[in-house]
């Protein structure tokens, strides 16, 4: 398998070649993600992907081992990239609350920017028989670890309660964000998802209860 993402050579023709290859590789990947987003992995056919990408069926197999490999590549390359950016975003803030806000903001932003990715990601993470078990576990862990760090930092800063079960808090946050995205996807993605970031952080921090009535 060729690594299409290495930067190799510097002459004009080398660049052209690499770009052309990248183009086709990415064209197929994007086409596949679009088709998967619309119909789900199992109901998508290789022919549909080829048609969407504007290539012949056989061409798919020059870039991908098989149909499943497209999904694998998507997760190990595209989606992973997105998740990597989350960390940058978090590192660009100082306080725990700012970090959390940045994380969620960026999360919503990225998923809004690439709706197809969002749909495929959502479907695949909730599949019963996961085709990309490993990658998803990894990405999920990456996300949850970031949240853990933030929470722990916040506890050090004194802005986050210490009487929390961290394992639950992580899911509490990820789940809420995912569901907000899920709703947006199902609503037809016709509103600005990112505006949900601040209200969400507010809910995470303060909950829905009244200040004065803290004895549930």
């Amino acid at each position: 398998m060729k690594n299409f993402h290495k930067i190799s050579g510097s002459g004009r023709s080398a660049i052209n070649t690499r770009e052309k290859i990248n183009n086709k590789y990415h064209r197929i990947l994007e086409a596949a993600v679009k088709v998967f987003a619309e119909q789900g992995f199992f109901q998508s056919t290789v022919s549909q992907i080829a048609r969407e990408a504007g290539v012949a069926d056989g061409t798919i197999y020059l870039y991908f081992k098989n149909k499943e490999d497209i999904l694998v590549q998507f997760f190990s390359y595209k989606a992973r990239q997105v998740f990597a950016r989350f960390r940058e975003e978090v590192d660009g803030a100082d306080t725990a609350v700012d970090k959390l806000r940045n994380l969620i903001h960026r999360h919503l932003q990225e998923f809004q920017n690439d709706r197809n990715m969002a749909m495929v990601y959502r479907a695949e993470t909730h599949q019963n028989s996961r085709l990309v078990e490993e990658q998803i576990k990894e990405m999920s862990k990456m996300y949850l670890d970031i949240v853990s760090e933030i929470v722990e930092q916040g506890q050090g800063e004194g802005v986050i309660r210490r009487d929390l079960y961290l394992g639950l808090v992580k899911r509490f946050i990820l789940g809420a964000v995912d569901e907000v995205i899920n709703t947006w996807l199902h609503a037809g993605s016709n509103y600005d998802l990112v505006t949900m970031a601040d209200p969400l952080v507010d809910l995470f921090m303060r909950g829905i209860g009244h200040n004065d009535a803290r004895d549930f």
Copy 2:
């Protein structure tokens, strides 16, 4: 398609017949849900379901119009039943907080009791091309409406903040619960899910922030 749940006749033999039929109907339904839970809808074959149910392949088609119809029946009968119980549970409490606690408790309880249902429900609600669009919308609405009612009651009682975007709060709660279940499913379901109910309600009400530091 016959409706096997109408009560028809009243003589002994009629009852026997109906029960035998129901037996087979339910056996197939349970078998299907088990198979779907293990492999996902598209990777499950009708033969596998038949084998699991102990009937011939053709028998499936006496009770279900086609493979997809099994899923439809599952949602319109089995899962719907579960969701109907949520309301009872909520109605059995007085205060908003008790209602919320009951709801979540029951939610976790039901999904813990029927892991296969939980898996199929989860997968289907996150599928890109939903085979059971309508039912899921309906059930989702049912759930979200209950939460809305609770929140509004809580606001009336003065225990829940009034400065909330209700649409977001509903997703915030549903999403967190779903993710907790999701985690449980993936962890192999080897711990008691229901114990998560109280900590979850606590998080919903108070958030993760410190009382004293309410200025994020």
Copy 3:
């Protein structure tokens, strides 16, 4: 995999069922052998076999695991049967020469009776990458062992030379017979193959040299 050759049941309907199954199994097998004989294994398509057998493509897979399995079944059932008969034939004679004559006679007879089998057998035993390595080895050994026995008996009887390399003699005989069949197959099978038996035995026993000039 069902064993279609067990004798099971004795009621009329049981026999009918078994026969019908046998019919279809054998119809496919015969059709396949015919198609393989005409075009070779790799150039034959499953669709052609199905058409020749008068069944749907999918029906093939009710009786055979895959295309290759048809060949395997052919060898492990049909061809093996033929070779088993060789032994009976040999056992039905007393002297070594009679045994050899019977063997070759029967060999030519069987292959003449089933030209398709003859062609598939010939092609498969000379394939570079054998799909049925084991069976062929077994059948070949069976044949060569019979020849060995005959030769050894003949040596005991004093009618066969003792200064022979047995390993070579076996091939010498098998090869000559095979080539005679090969010629017959290529000539269009338009003459009586069996008449070659006696002249062949004569050649095996006396060679082509003159009695008087035994000093080559």
Copy 4:
């Protein structure tokens, strides 16, 4: 199709060009025969041949019309060459028996020297649907004619019986030699094939029967 074996031009560069071309032509041919020998014609891919020859897939089509043409060229060039040498060998002896001995010796020698050729030859001559019908017929005839000549000469010399069916004798000899080669190929070619020549000739001339007991 160009004939690469014509001598064209006489300048230095023309020779170089021709040799380079010949080089590549032969490299591909040898590579193909090797691959065919290992996997059989239909299971070999053009890509495998190209890789084995160290050229690009497309290059094959500069020297051969298509995949089948490689086989045709192999027979019309390579194998034919071998068979042509048989005649020389036979012409180099005087008596019929010497001629036969030389023929068989050379036959075994050539096939031992080029095992790949031996395998492809064997497979192709026993294929049901012959891709190289004509060439094989021709080569086979060439061989059988030589044998015929030898036998007839031997009859003239009085060392070979006159009461023989020549058509059968030719197959008798060719078949035995082929089978000896066949055995050697399957045994892994780990012994000296040529040592079989003399024992074979002995068997052809004297048969396996006892001198004294010539009344079978």
